[in-house]
């Protein structure tokens, strides 16, 4: 079977799972709608002002879209950071990049970006800037003569994460103490439905980031040879690293701007996919996009329903899965990226 066929097969299999989980997510929830009612709303046979239409089309459907976009973006950002650092544990939240983006979002909020498409774009720009800043700091701290040491990189990520979390707390304390609880909910990752225009922006930014990393997937494989060997094969290693770095920061910043920092998706999903499709980034990037969407959608559906009618932040679920997973991968690190 050719590579293209193999990729298409893997993507269709993963696509079927995504579709199944997506449908499940539409049909379950605290509103207690009957499957028939949801089906009526989905097929346009319900009144637009009816409960089932509002719940299904204005609450659940956008939420499913947000979860899928965020999951895809985070998983692909993880693959990007892992290829750049040649480290299977690199991931937006572990590297502190999510915290940097969150700092940007908080900053944007106190500057008055509230609702609407322009505001959403403003928040996304701040989140992107925060992500870039924190990723650059981690990179500079961890780069010693002789390359990136794995431990140094992880520690640098933790330190940068702590720093930006503290900075967020300072800002919030100074500005408005009453908003703290809402922000904490957001800081754990909150897949609230967002308006269609913002959703379109979210989709466009995610698409751009995934596309940027995908088109460099073959070159990212060659980066595993080391930068000198990669450049001797005709790759502009500096430019490649810069582009993928920016794309991964863009994906992270976008997710944080629209949903808050959701951790560990970029760790769990690529790791599982490496076992299924192998280490080739040309397979990993597209399959992780689909599988990341599926994973976060499943986690969110769980978060909405385990303690219904209340709901957990989806970040709680991914952190509960991700933290033990991190330890497990760390211990099995003899198997490299």
């Amino acid at each position: 079977m050719t590579d293209a066929r193999r990729l298409a097969t893997a993507l269709s299999a993963l696509g079927v799972v995504l579709l199944a989980i997506g449908l499940t997510a539409l049909f379950v929830g605290s509103a207690g709608l009957s499957p028939g009612a949801v089906a009526r709303a989905l097929t346009g046979r319900a009144e637009t002002s009816s409960v089932e239409a509002i719940v299904t089309l204005s609450l659940r459907l956008p939420r499913v879209a947000v979860a899928a976009l965020a999951g895809a973006a985070l998983a692909v950002a993880g693959v990007g950071f892992q290829a750049l650092t040649r480290n299977p544990l690199a991931e937006p939240s572990v590297l502190g990049v999510s915290s940097g983006a969150a700092f940007g979002v908080v900053l944007a909020q106190i500057l008055g970006f509230e609702t609407g498409l322009v505001a959403a774009l403003g928040v996304a720009v701040f989140a992107f800037a925060g992500a870039l800043l924190s990723a650059a700091i981690v990179y500079l701290v961890a780069t010693a003569p002789g390359g990136l040491a794995i431990q140094t990189l992880l520690l640098a990520g933790v330190i940068v994460g702590i720093f930006f979390s503290a900075a967020i707390t300072v800002i919030i304390s100074l500005v408005d103490f009453n908003r703290l609880s809402g922000v904490i909910h957001w800081l754990l990752g909150n897949l609230a439905p967002i308006p269609p225009s913002s959703l379109a922006l979210f989709a466009a930014l995610t698409g751009a980031g995934v596309w940027l990393i995908l088109r460099h997937a073959r070159e990212l494989n060659l980066l595993a040879l080391g930068e000198e060997a990669a450049s001797q094969l005709g790759i502009d290693a500096e430019r490649l690293k810069r582009r993928v770095f920016v794309a991964a920061a863009l994906l992270t910043g976008t997710v944080v701007a629209f949903t808050g920092p959701i951790g560990f998706v970029g760790l769990i999903v690529p790791h599982v996919l490496r076992g299924l499709v192998g280490q080739d980034n040309r397979f990993l990037v597209p399959t992780c996009a689909v599988a990341g969407a599926t994973f976060l959608l499943a986690a969110d559906t769980l978060a909405r329903n385990v303690v219904a009618p209340a709901e957990l932040s989806v970040g709680v679920i991914t952190a509960f899965c991700g933290a033990p997973f991190f330890v497990w991968v760390l211990r099995a690190r003899s198997r490299p990226v």
């Binding site: 595993a224 060997a229 450049s231 094969l233 005709g234 280490q279 490299p336």
Partner: protein
């Protein structure tokens, strides 16, 4: 790999270093000692095996980096086939010059076949997946290096000798005109050293491939190379046939230690360190 490409002799040399001057920026990397090529000139002819030898920090590695454009000369010019390499696209250069590194990269998660296919990148940098021609070239390269049976193995599971052959296969998959080897036998035991030497000689004879061999191992270089370049502190100490370069007086002067030079069974010089007993 295709049919052997015999190089027409007597035209421009394949590689020319023309008064190449280079110095590392001060304190760019504290581990590199202050080192410079004041103005290095030499040529590698088509179809020959050319060895570069010299003491530590004589400039062997820097020479290799200049040739592959990892470093750029501050003055002078390096030409491939009469064309300045600075004018080539980086992947154009990679189609002509392939490097077998000293050591395998670590961590390296890919299989031997995936590694070898990476050598095809310069032949289709815009392709997302390699095509049938790439697969055939990779297969050919693995056949030539006896690594075909290892194709599905992760590189990290191989022995040192197997890894070296896999790296050589990757370079061959580039179908280069110049094959550059950086200390090809540094991590190999005697048997693999012999196999590597035989393989290089065969590639040179059967495919007309020009070989640049950078090595500490004077005797390997003497045995394989048609001509040797002896470097001292970034300058040519001597260049010529192994018998003319590996002379006792020259070596003692350049390396700063006592040596004896004999002849091997093949008539090539054999250098031995004359240990001082104290």
């Amino acid at each position: 790999m295709g049919p052997a490409r015999a190089e027409p002799a007597g035209l421009t040399p394949l590689i020319e270093f023309d008064h190449v001057a280079f110095a590392y920026a001060r304190a760019a990397d504290p581990r590199t000692r202050a080192f410079a090529f004041p103005g290095l000139s030499f040529a590698i002819e088509r179809g020959e095996i050319f060895g570069v030898i010299g003491p530590n920090s004589a400039g062997k590695t820097s020479l290799l980096r200049l040739l592959t454009r990892v470093l750029s000369p501050q003055r002078g010019e390096i030409r491939l086939d009469g064309r300045p390499i600075g004018a080539l696209r980086s992947w154009e250069l990679a189609r002509e010059v392939a490097v077998v590194p000293q050591e395998a990269p670590r961590p390296f998660p890919f299989t031997v076949e995936q590694l070898v296919l990476m050598g095809r990148y310069p032949h289709g940098p815009r392709r997302f997946f390699e095509d049938a021609g790439d697969a055939a070239a990779a297969r050919d390269a693995m056949l030539a290096t006896a690594t075909l049976s290892l194709a599905a193995m992760p590189l990290e599971r191989l022995s040192g000798g197997e890894r070296q052959r896999a790296l050589l296969a990757r370079a061959l998959a580039q179908e280069p005109r110049l094959l550059v080897l950086d200390e090809p036998t540094a991590h190999l035991d005697l048997r693999y050293q012999a196999e590597t030497a035989a393989l290089l000689r065969r590639l040179n004879r059967e495919r007309g491939m020009t070989v640049l061999l950078v090595s500490h191992d004077l005797n390997l270089a003497a045995e394989l190379a048609d001509r040797l370049l002896l470097l001292r502190a970034g300058e040519v100490a001597r260049v010529g046939a192994p018998g003319d370069v590996l002379e006792q007086g020259v070596l003692e002067d350049v390396f700063g230690c006592r040596v004896t030079v004999d002849k091997s069974a093949s008539g090539r010089p054999v250098v031995q360190l004359a240990y001082e007993r104290g």
